[in-house]
Symmetry: C2
Subunit: 406 residues, 2 copies
């Protein structure tokens, strides 16, 4: 008996039958004697439909109005879920982000949660009601409705779990948990029973897509244990928790890969202070998300080559900006490759295990995979390789670190 | 230059193109220098769709959750309208019922508005913004979302106009204004340039359908001038205002008719105190809306006949209840007629004009229309007649009182 926070995403509440199934699942936990707080996303494609409708009215809708519009999607699914639970004879109440006491920054479309005032939720729990909260939304200092960005319902759930001091926060999704690698692409990919916040954060940023990075950050800050599991079965999923609570035997926890990568090189750039800064400022102003950056110097010519990666959809615009700067500063020129990919290994264990990066490089070499760029952090090593090599590279690395074994 | 409150119903904001048209119409007034507050209903059939979805989840959804669900429809259209106005380069802000300061009774589904706190609306008007308010909704003392019943957006508009001391409140609808009779059925039916609150209230209750009776009540209480007009053209419509401000030449202002009427008679009912009360209590418990009631006594037999009318959809259930009571109290029996209709004349002028009812009865007699039942109030005379006679009856009365003339 405890206090459980659950979060169900849009695909789990996509139609009437799915909502009824989720309601019964919630009640299984409730009937064990648990207090239940459930965060829901908008039904299926509702958010996308609302965005489409808005763009027909106004190609550049005011951010405040977009938030007011989009937040209705979660309000609908919260009310529907409360009705579904009431249909099973249990008291339930739906709360908007505002009613649930979710206060955010003033900014619209991607406000961060500042504070949760759980008074109303606690009052409803004291009346033994199942509390359903509309995810993805809050209210700012002006009393205006804000949304907290894509994947925001994960963050709502974790923040509410933290405020309520919940025993844990269950995030239901369409996969079974967090795997050592993409189970659809890598032989021997294994579900992890647990993973540290730091590792989950790296994997989320690398595109593993199970949990939103911001949700992991909030969980880590408040030390909320997250249980990532499937909404389609009762299997145990993956617990995301503090690293030092875990016994650790392996240097590497998982392998991630990202195929949405393009590469740009500006070469023979005069080595003058501020030139690189100018380039990345301009890319930032254009909202282009630059990932790996490597610089190499030619000291005799007093020039640098800079190579960086961007999402493929941003390549054209990034090329234009880079070519303009190349002319401006008198660099040797620019070239690009739209077909590269990134392979990364992640593990808190690598902090205390020398030679992990070297083993990855050697593994890729033996597999005949040429490494274009390398980027490392304390718990991550990423290599950019040709797209044609990425599947082979991931499998080789997964095998070399024996991730298929417990 | 003044403060104008406008209200657009669901059919006026039914799709993207209609919303854009309404936005331009609002801006025409705004550009004359007026401060604009606009109340909108949900787009087209949104409310019906939400009700259908809810019933699939739970045939008896909790009233609180129905309100939370249904109120989203108006929030969507308010945000969309604000976006449409912003697309024309004018600042606009959408407000939920709560943000607009609409406080209601605690009850759900048909809460009455208790108070409007116009602070936020006034703040936005001071910034020269067009304010769009989601109609049909408010918030109760628990911070829960309430709705104020079908037609509630009319009432929202009038209550907000009262709180803001607006110059007038324009209700846009799919007809040109209020007519002396149904212009699609009666030759010579004429649009009224003005009508009193009392008359409008009677006409609305009689099914004229242009304005919700509750909205008229609120307007009368706060002395808000309503302008009922078409959303499809710029013609002047009908002003609804205080009677004593009008010069009055005619006893009768309009003729209304209602075909959705069935009649039940329970005859030879023993004349014991409380018997009639018992019948109408039982009909009330079954939520059957009884309209005209006529009782005639047979003093020698010490029995009564009671005849009353109900909407046709309630006839079967009302018959069952009446027949059960007939047996219980030992009455002579029950009969019914599903095919009757009601013709009514309305006019504040009849208070000071003797013989108006008599003239109506004589007119119907000359037209060969037999009168079944009569019911009168200070400013109304209603006659129940056979359905086959109703069109003839309405035209004859309209002609007799010369309503086609100014």
């Amino acid at each position: 008996m405890g206090l459980v926070v659950q979060k169900f995403g849009g695909s789990s509440v996509g139609d009437v039958q799915k909502i009824k199934n989720v309601a019964r699942r919630i009640l299984d936990e409730y009937k064990k004697g648990n207090s239940m707080v459930v965060i829901v996303s908008a039904m299926g494609k509702t958010t996308d439909d609302l965005i489409k409708l808005a763009k027909e009215i106004n190609p550049n809708p005011p951010a405040r109005e977009m938030d007011a519009l989009m937040a209705t999607g979660e309000k609908v699914s919260a009310a529907m879920m409360a009705m579904a639970i009431a249909a099973e004879g249990i008291g339930a109440v739906s709360l908007t982000g505002q009613q649930a006491g979710v206060f955010t920054e003033t900014v619209h479309n991607k406000a961060r949660i500042l504070e949760i005032d759980p008074e109303r939720i606690e009052k409803e729990l004291a009346r033994s009601r199942v509390v359903i909260v509309a995810g993805f939304q809050g209210i700012n200092e002006y009393g205006d409705i804000t949304t907290i960005g894509r994947g925001g319902s994960d963050t709502s759930a974790v923040a509410i779990a933290a405020a309520l001091k919940a025993d844990y926060c269950e995030i239901f999704t369409d996969v079974d948990g967090v795997y050592t690698a993409d189970p659809f692409e890598v032989k021997g990919a294994r579900k992890l029973s647990e993973i540290s916040y730091e590792e989950m954060l790296e994997l989320a940023s690398l595109g593993a897509g199970v949990l939103h990075p911001r949700a992991v950050e909030v969980a880590q800050f408040h030390n909320v244990v997250i249980h990532v599991r499937s909404s389609f079965n009762n299997n145990q999923g993956t617990f995301v928790k503090e690293a030092n609570k875990m016994e650790r035997k392996k240097a590497v926890t998982g392998v991630a890969h990202d195929k949405d990568v393009a590469k740009i090189t500006i070469y023979a750039m005069p080595d003058k202070p501020g030139t690189a800064g100018k380039l990345f400022s301009k890319l930032g102003e254009a909202k282009i998300n630059v990932d790996v950056i490597v610089q190499s110097s030619h000291q005799q010519q007093n020039t640098n080559d800079i190579t960086f990666t961007v999402p493929r959809g941003d390549l054209d615009q990034a090329l234009k900006i880079t070519e303009a700067l190349s002319k401006e500063v008198g660099a040797g020129g620019v070239n690009s490759d739209a077909k590269v990919s990134k392979v990364s290994i992640v593990g808190v264990g690598m902090i205390s295990t020398p030679g992990v990066a070297a083993k990855m490089f050697a593994t890729l070499g033996s597999a005949g995979v040429n490494i274009d760029l390398i980027s490392t952090s304390e718990i991550k090593v990423s290599c950019v390789v040709a797209e044609k090599d990425v599947d082979k590279a991931v499998q080789a690395v997964h095998d070399a670190f024996e991730l298929e074994k417990e």
